[in-house]
Every structure is written in C-alpha cells, then in structure tokens.
C-alpha cells in the first residue's frame, strides 16, 4: 500500500483487510491517531471514542473466518453525526439542551452498521439540531474545512464532512433535511447522498423536520457511498414511513442516460466558474454517450420559500419535547411553566430559537393558511412537476451549491445562509433521492476549492444516482 491506511477508501480497506495486508487494529489505530491529531484544529468531533477492543477483535475474527463473505463494512472506522443515537453514548445534536443526554437505544442505522462490523471513531459536530448550512451554529464552536481552515465545511453535517475529508475516518454518516449531507459533501470534495424519503429508517435520529429528514452517507467515492447505503436501507417496523421494495415502480433505464438540465434555474445567483465547471462535467458526460434534455420546473423558484415554512413548522413541533422534564437540560423556576421556559431558553441557541419562533408563527391561527397550507400545496405541485419531468429524462442535474465553501461569518444574516440550500431543498420537499459528486475545483484567494454536481432521480430510483455518479468520477461499481 502506498497510501496511509486512514486515507484508503472503504473498498480499498476491505481488500487490504481480506488479503491480510494490514489488520483491523492497524486500520483503527491509523484513523484514531489522525482524528486525535487533527481534531484540535478542525473541531470535527465533539467526542472521540476510545478503542472498543471487543468490537475490533470481533471484526477481525469475522474477516478471518468469512473472508469475501464478510460485510465490506466489517472493521471499517466511521464517523457518526451527533444526532444519530448510539446506545450508551451521548447524543447531543450539538446542543446544550442535550449535553447530558445518553442514548438509551441504538438507532436502526446504528444497529445495522454494528451488525456489519463498523467501528465508530466518534460523534461529529453539526449545526445545533441540524439547523444550518455551515456548522457555525453548534453550541460547541464551529468546525473548520480541512481543504481551507478559514472556510466552513458546510452544514449541518459539517463535522462529518470534515472528519471524512481529513481522513480521520474512512467515511461518515450525516442527516439531510434540506441539503445537510449534499452541501457539506460538495464543500469538502466528498460524495454525499440523500436517499428517497423512507428508504432508510429514521428510528433513533433526533428529528428536525420529520417529513424531510433522511440519513445517508458522506464518502470518498461513489462506490463507498453505495456500500453504506446498501447496508442501511430497508423497511423498518420502528419507522412507519419506511418503504418496501414495491412502494415505487422500478425505473427502467438504458445504458445511455438522459440528463435533464433546468436551464432556467441557472440564469442567475450562481458563480461563473461553478457554472463553467458544471458545463464541463455535462460535456464530459455527453462524450461518454449520455444525452442532455432541457427540462422546465417552474415552481422550483418557490421551493426554498416553501421549505423555510414547512421545516420550521415541523421543527417547532418536534423541539417542543425538550422541556426539561424527562431528560436533557433541566432548569428550575417557581412553577412548572417556568421549568419549561427556563430549560428551553437556556438550552437552545439563537438559530434554534429563531426557527422555533418562525414555526410557531406559520402555524398560528390567522397565518396557517397563507403560509403553512400554501407551502404544503406548493410542495405537491413541485413533486408533480418533477414526476412529469422524469417522463423525458432519467436524472435532473444542477450544481449542488451556487458557490464553493464560504468564510466564517460571511453569511451572518439568516436569509443569505438559507440561500445556500437553494438547489438542495427540492429533493427533501419532493422526497426524491439526490446525490452530490465532486465535479472539479474553483479558485478563491489562491486556494483550490471543490464544487459538486447534483443529481436527482425519481422516487425509488436511488441506485440510478450511484450509476450516474460513477459516470462522473470514472468509477466502476
């Protein structure tokens, strides 16, 4: 091996473990040491876990006994976002509210990953309760982008993107409510994928917007992202919104894929070199035999507005549970009401309070029709537009973000931060799967920064996104 062990992809590491080029212990040590070395600077992890000698030994024994039949994830060190429950570990969602909350059970994805033999390096930093696009809204300080430490790693899964991008884990898990996997993946040069809503169980995820949230992988290659997705997907009796294999019809596609491009969305608000990189990537795909199709998605211009009504509405309802009574921060006043108010007011950061207030407003009597119900209807129209567009194309492409990673503090007013999600929120509103794949670099202040291309496909056509992504990266799946 020419690369240090922590810089391997999952596919490369699995091969090395099977050929006994190195051991599970050596792979763990390489990641764990790099995490300890880089974390003081990056603040990617809120906690680094000590080595679990039993889990390491079990993984090694399985690889020795089962060889090629062992899961490709067996013995693989992975970083876990702090809003995904691992029994016995703190899960704080990067909030003071849950600083002392220890998970009482494994989330379904944790359970599946443990069964596959994954080792958890630590829990990663994030925007508090996944509310943000830069990881600047963590109660435990911002995470830095390993590509350029003066810039944000994206968010809300910014700790996960920094952890995987800095090779402190072979890959990471994130959650995506409006782009929180795909946008940080784009900003750190990773592949990030949000599955079809319901494809992966939400049981044991700390909820932000229940009709929008999905967990998914952040990985160094499309193949690695697919390995993680394949292990985590599936129906779960603990999440009634999970899909069965026959929920959506199977989409038949040819070898040559039809790529829909909504040109009308690319006219403004996009950096010129990001657009150039996007056009170059599309040109390379057409050279490989894929075709470009113009598609029109007229309601897309309203997607972000609808999202910033629906998400805070759901968030304000979900976050009502943190009242200082059963778990989490418990401040005490003169009455039960004061117990609630004081616990919430000291536990939540300002972005969280902003969204709770916004959610309370759009659901309040007199405003619910104009805001929440209208946004909910717009969501249906958007979904119908995408369904119609998929009649003439297999995937829809645009850049993941309008610009590369920005500097800390650059987007200090809420609306400019929300605009980071302008391309990614639609897939959460429609429930369709989406992927971000690195498409090249752009230069800012003498530093090369990665940018991503984003593909969406029809409900249930998650695998098609991996096929499309591999065409961009040149991988063979």
């Amino acid at each position: 091996m020419t690369k240090p062990l922590n810089e391997l992809t999952i596919v490369e590491a699995a091969k090395g473990l099977r050929s006994k080029t190195f051991s599970v212990q050596e792979l763990w040590d390489a990641c764990s040491a790099e995490a300890a070395r880089r974390n003081p600077e990056l603040n990617a992890y809120l906690e680094l876990f000590p080595a679990d000698a039993d889990a390491i030994a079990r993984a090694q024994a399985r690889i020795d006994a089962e060889g090629e039949n062992a899961s490709l994830l067996c013995g693989i060190p992975l970083a876990m976002k702090d809003n995904i429950l691992i029994e016995g570990h703190v899960a704080s969602a990067a909030s003071k509210m849950l600083a002392n909350y220890t998970a009482t059970y494994d989330s379904t994805v944790t359970k599946k990953l443990k069964e596959a033999g994954v080792l958890f390096v630590g829990r990663t930093n994030m925007d508090e309760f996944a509310m943000g696009s830069s990881t600047e809204h963590s109660a435990y300080g911002p995470t830095k982008n390993p590509v350029d430490v003066t810039r944000v790693p994206g968010g809300s899964s910014g700790g996960s993107s920094a952890a995987a991008s800095a090779h402190t884990a072979l890959a990471a898990l994130g959650t995506d409510t409006g782009g929180s996997i795909r946008q940080p993946a784009a900003h750190t040069g990773l592949v990030g994928m949000k599955p079809t809503y319901g494809r992966i169980s939400r049981s044991g995820l700390i909820a932000l917007g229940s009709s929008l949230d999905q967990a998914g992988p952040l990985a160094k290659s499309v193949a690695d992202a697919k390995i993680l997705y394949d292990v985590m997907k599936g129906h779960d009796p603990l999440d009634a919104t999970t899909l069965t294999d026959d929920t959506y019809p199977v989409k038949e596609v040819g070898k040559s894929l039809r790529i829909g491009v909504p040109r009308h969305l690319l006219v403004e608000g996009l950096d010129a070199d990001v657009l150039e990189s996007f056009e170059r990537t599309l040109a390379a795909l057409t050279e490989k035999g894929h075709t470009l199709v113009d598609v029109s998605l007229p309601t897309s211009g309203y997607a972000l507005s609808a999202y910033y009504v629906i998400m805070p509405a759901e968030a304000s309802a979900n976050l009502a549970r943190y009242d200082g009574i059963r778990y989490g921060l418990a401040e005490r006043g003169e009455s039960l009401l004061e117990d609630y108010v004081q616990s919430k007011s000291s536990g939540f950061g300002s972005e969280t309070i902003r969204r709770i207030l916004l959610g309370t407003f759009v659901l309040s009597s007199g405003y619910i029709d104009a805001y929440y119900r209208k946004a909910d209807k717009a969501r249906d129209v958007l979904r119908a537009e995408y369904d119609a567009a998929f009649g003439s194309c297999d995937v829809i492409a645009f850049p993941t973000t309008p610009s590369p990673a920005f500097r800390f503090g650059e987007k200090s007013d809420p609306v400019s931060m929300y605009l980071e999600d302008v391309f990614t929120v639609t897939a959460n509103l429609t429930g369709m799967p989406a992927i971000s794949v690195p498409m090249g670099m752009v230069e800012r202040d003498g530093v090369s920064l990665p940018v991503g291309i984003h593909f969406t496909s029809a409900h249930g056509a998650d695998d098609l996104l991996f096929t499309m992504g591999a065409e961009v990266t040149g991988e063979t799946l």
Binding site: Y308, I325, R354
Partner: protein, 100 residues
C-alpha cells in the same frame, strides 16, 4: 401576506407561545431578521396553485398491531436514569393543580 412589519412585541408574543424567552436586548434584532425571512418566504404569495386542493393522493397512515411492542420494564432503568428529578421509578414534576 407579508406586508405587516414584525415588532419587538410580536416576537415577544410568539416567544411566549413557544414557551421561550428572548432577551430584551435581542427582540429588535429578531424582529428585523423575521421581516427579511418573511419577505423571502412571502414569495409564495405570487404563486398560483390549482384550486382543486391536493394534486397528489393523500399520504396514507400506517398503523401497527395494537399490542405491547416490548415487555414491560425493558427500558425502565435506562430511561429513569435520565430523569432530572425522580421518586423511585416515577418522574417528579411540580404540582400543577392546587386545591386552595
């Protein structure tokens, strides 16, 4: 729909509905931010939508069998350990209704 300007009093009223307090010094800032957010999401106002209500079929509800999903007591110890105040295995809260 977003013509009205949010005032510090509006923010304080919403905060009380949401059972949080916003420090006096932050009320004006929150109100200004609220205005710009509502101006942005207010774009929805321009959008003409089909009259016929939902254009997609309603989301279906999925129910499980109405039985005990796990044996009583399985999680008690771990959950009780998280209680801020307890008496045995019971959660303690302040008295809500008084008989005075």
């Amino acid at each position: 729909m977003s013509t009205a300007k949010a005032s510090a009093e509006d923010v304080a009223r919403l905060a009380s509905l949401a059972r949080v307090t916003v420090p006096e010094a932050d009320l004006a800032r929150f109100a200004t931010e609220f205005d710009s957010i509502l101006a942005y999401v207010g774009k929805l106002d321009e959008l003409t939508l089909p009259e016929s209500g939902r254009v997609q079929s309603e989301v279906r509800n999925v129910l499980r069998e109405d039985t005990e999903p796990y044996a009583s007591g399985t999680w008690t110890e771990k959950i009780v350990a998280q209680f801020p105040e307890k008496s045995g295995d019971s959660l303690s809260v302040k008295q809500i209704i008084s008989h005075d």
